[in-house]
């Protein structure tokens, strides 16, 4: 009667029988896509140094993961895409002339120490790329400080009053210039509004990922629209930074645009594994990152405090999750 119907069926599995199309790899690829404009613009402006740095970080991160799995005799995990994202993000936190051996070390630390040692994807407490970046910046402060600013960087050409002197003092980013000016009670008379445009469109001091705030905002917006990241983290983060810098008497726009803040707020703090699980928790987490970022910027030893602000908040995530564990339907306070 039913010759077209098979009598035994090859796949029998439990409900639900359908699943959303969103896979782990798909999510990671969206993150990569969102970072492509920034990455491309960095390579376009900085040339092969940037390309080599990117290739080295990604290769080091992915190679480390492959080797770890190989040695531990575990199934390979490169297919989930997370090592690729870690390598890419690590590269974007480094200045273009970072010695490649340092990039290799950063990639190894990011994957081996910060991720695989914790049990692999999903088990790490701290963002791997940021651990890699922190490792580099702590271990080789001197080396990094000696990395010459990228030639053609705009701030030489911009002729902002006072920056000539500052150049000699710091040889570094606009953030450092602003910090020095603050420390001197504005003695250098730096007008931060002059920095808006370069920071927004084309900035060659600082790391690869700081090349253009506009492109980072575009990528971040893309991830929010695509439902990959929760807007609460970057909005809480950036909002807190803006409000607090204003309260501290600094320029909020400059503080949002400068340094690795936008990269951190949209792409690092939003890392699933190392951020909270509830909407309120995420908002709180974002605000906490912003708070420590500003405090670090204004009172810390280094103006580049994004890395440590996020890592510190990463450490609080288990507490936030436990504290804000959702109330189960039908338990306790009802709406009745």
């Amino acid at each position: 009667m039913s010759e077209t119907a098979p009598t035994s069926l090859p796949w029998v599995a439990a409900a639900p029988h359908i699943a959303s199309k969103r896979s782990c790899r798909g999510i990671m690829l969206w993150v990569v896509v969102a970072l492509l404009p920034t990455t491309g613009w960095a390579v376009w402006n900085m040339g092969s140094v940037a390309a080599w740095l990117l290739a080295t970080c990604i290769g080091s991160a992915m190679g480390t993961e492959w080797l770890w799995n190989r040695i531990a005799r575990r199934p390979q995990t490169l297919g989930d895409g997370s090592a690729l994202v870690t390598g890419l993000l690590l590269a974007l936190t480094l200045p273009p002339r970072t010695p490649l051996w340092m990039a290799v070390a950063g990639g190894i630390v990011a994957i081996a120490l910060a991720k695989m040692l914790f049990g692999g994807l999903g088990w790490n407490l701290f963002n791997p790329a940021l651990v890699g970046r922190a490792f580099i910046s702590i271990s080789w402060i001197g080396v990094l400080a000696g990395v010459r600013p990228f030639p053609g960087g705009w701030y030489n050409a911009l002729d902002v009053p006072g920056t000539g002197d500052l150049d000699a003092i710091t040889g570094a980013t606009r953030l450092a210039i602003a910090a020095a000016d603050r420390a001197a009670d504005g003695a250098y008379g730096v007008d931060l509004t002059h920095y808006y445009a370069p920071l927004f469109f084309r900035n060659l001091e600082g790391s690869l990922g700081e090349v253009s705030a506009a492109l980072l905002l575009f990528g971040g917006a893309l991830l929010i629209v695509k439902g990959i990241i929760d807007w609460r983290i970057p909005v809480g983060y950036v909002g807190t930074v803006a409000v607090l810098s204003w309260a501290f008497g600094s320029d909020p726009v400059f503080n949002v645009l400068a340094g690795g803040l936008l990269l951190g707020a949209f792409f690092m703090a939003t890392d699933y594994v190392t951020s909270p699980m509830t909407p309120l928790g995420r908002l709180l987490f974002g605000c906490g990152c912003g708070l420590f970022n500003v405090v670090g910027r204004f009172y810390g030893p280094m103006p580049e405090s994004t890395t440590f602000a996020i890592l510190f908040m990463n450490g609080l995530v288990p507490l936030i999750d436990r504290w804000l564990s959702p109330r189960t339907y039908g338990w306790g306070r009802g709406d009745a």
Binding site: T7, A19, T328
Partner: protein, 432 residues
């Protein structure tokens, strides 16, 4: 009071367009009817016939001998071939009565139910929750004394993707649905009747509104899975939660499926027992649609009536794709609570996941859980067999809706893990 959306849930593609348009057609007389003695939650029925007996349509072939049970009637005139056993869709082997129907059936004739008051009639008609729960309806019509029912909610949400049988029932038999609602409300002394319908069934909303007149309110709810789950429906319609460990009746609400309501009206007004039902046959079949199917028809025969399957079949399920049962073979009978048969091709079904996938803490399961649980945590603890921890995270409150598994980007088998935890906890004596 305007309906509120419950927090959580998902929006899977509904795939209802193939079947919601056409009216339900009765399938031809199948070659055999297999009636499992367990088609409901509760005590199994006892066969009331022997091999060789001639049975009439509507005759009792399985007697209910307990309070929580529901008798089983022959949907056809025919001869009992055997009192035997059958596999059911759940994979269980249960006692069954097998009947060879006569080739010609007079569908308008049946053995009417004896005159009795409403609750007895509903019990004698063998009516169970047709939305899939299969709980004997008569039991729900006698709520505990200390829990007066003030609102009857008729569940016309049909939030499971693919299924449209409740939708068709509302369009084709709106009067019966309304009558069933009135009968239920009178039986339990409720003053208010609400028909909850998802907004994607606008035609059913209009039809039910005009059928109900002033006797029931039609409440349009957002199309959102699992809108039709009892606890979520009560929350959406009344804005209150069913307290943990309590019956839904504790909120003063009583929920019945719209098709169940229509069956109750059939029983009370026509003295008609539950013998057949409308079910959705869809997916990769030649003629997807809704069919009026005698209970006990084999799945293979139902599929044949829909023109047979088309192309390479990956999985056949009874029920909806979120909670339905996968079939190991097609020679199992459809039962009272079978709302649909869905045929999937490869690539449409969730991938079979081998090995333990990592949780990337994306929080999608937390956002999707309509019980506001943290499925990822329960899953991790269940993996470690730390049942105490699963209890702390209220695993027992899980309604097994499948939202968490649906959204998980690493395809963790969350529902299975949580179900396992629930079993362990119930064995230890934790109460639902």
């Amino acid at each position: 009071m305007s309906p509120r959306r419950f927090r959580g849930g998902i929006h899977p593609p509904d795939h209802k367009e193939k079947t919601r348009g056409g009216s339900s057609a009765r399938i031809g007389v199948p070659e055999r009817i297999v009636l499992p003695m367990v088609q409901h939650l509760g005590t199994p029925c006892v066969p009331a016939v022997e091999a060789g007996d001639v049975v009439e349509r509507g005759q009792v072939v399985g007697r209910a001998e307990a309070m929580v049970s529901a008798p089983i009637h022959s949907p056809v005139a025919g001869t009992v071939i055997a009192v035997t056993e059958t596999l059911t869709a759940t994979g269980a082997r249960v006692p069954a009565v097998e009947i060879a129907p006569e080739a010609e059936q007079d569908w308008d004739r049946f053995v009417p139910l004896e005159d009795a008051e409403v609750v007895h009639t509903v019990r004698a008609a063998g009516i169970v929750g047709l939305g899939g729960a299969a709980f004997p309806s008569a039991v729900k019509l006698t709520p505990p004394q200390d829990m007066p029912v003030s609102t009857v909610i008729l569940n016309g949400c049909e939030c499971e993707p693919y299924l449209t049988c409740d939708h068709r029932t509302m369009l084709e038999r709106p009067g019966r649905v309304v009558a069933g609602g009135r009968i239920i409300a009178e039986a339990v002394g409720a003053s208010r009747t609400v028909i909850g319908i998802e907004a994607n069934k606008f035609d059913a909303v209009d039809t039910m509104r005009s059928a109900a007149g002033g006797s029931a309110e039609v409440c349009v709810l957002p199309a959102h899975y699992p809108q039709g789950a009892e606890k979520q429906l009560i929350r959406s319609v009344l804005g209150i939660e069913v307290p943990h460990g309590k019956l839904p009746a504790a909120t003063g609400a009583l929920v019945h499926n719209v098709s169940t309501a229509a069956a109750i009206a059939d029983a009370v007004e026509d003295r008609r027992p539950l013998m057949e039902r409308v079910m959705t046959v869809t997916g990769h079949v030649a003629r997807p649609g809704n069919y009026l199917v005698p209970i006990g028809t084999l799945v293979s025969d139902v599929l044949a009536a829909a023109g047979g399957t088309v192309g390479e079949v990956a999985r056949v399920i009874v029920g909806g794709p979120m909670t339905g049962m996968p079939l190991a073979g097609l020679d199992v009978p459809v039962v009272k609570a079978t709302g649909g048969i869905v045929v999937f091709a490869q690539g449409e079904v969730a991938p079979a996941v081998l090995g333990d996938q990592p949780c990337i803490r994306c929080a999608r399961c937390v956002a999707a859980c309509p019980m506001w649980l943290e499925p990822y945590v329960i899953g991790i603890h269940a993996n470690r067999r730390d049942w105490d921890a699963t209890e702390r995270y209220h695993a027992i409150d899980c309604i097994e809706c499948g939202c968490c598994s649906y959204v998980c980007p690493t395809s963790r088998p969350l529902v299975q893990l949580i179900r396992r935890a629930k079993h362990m906890l119930m064995e230890r004596g934790s109460k639902l």
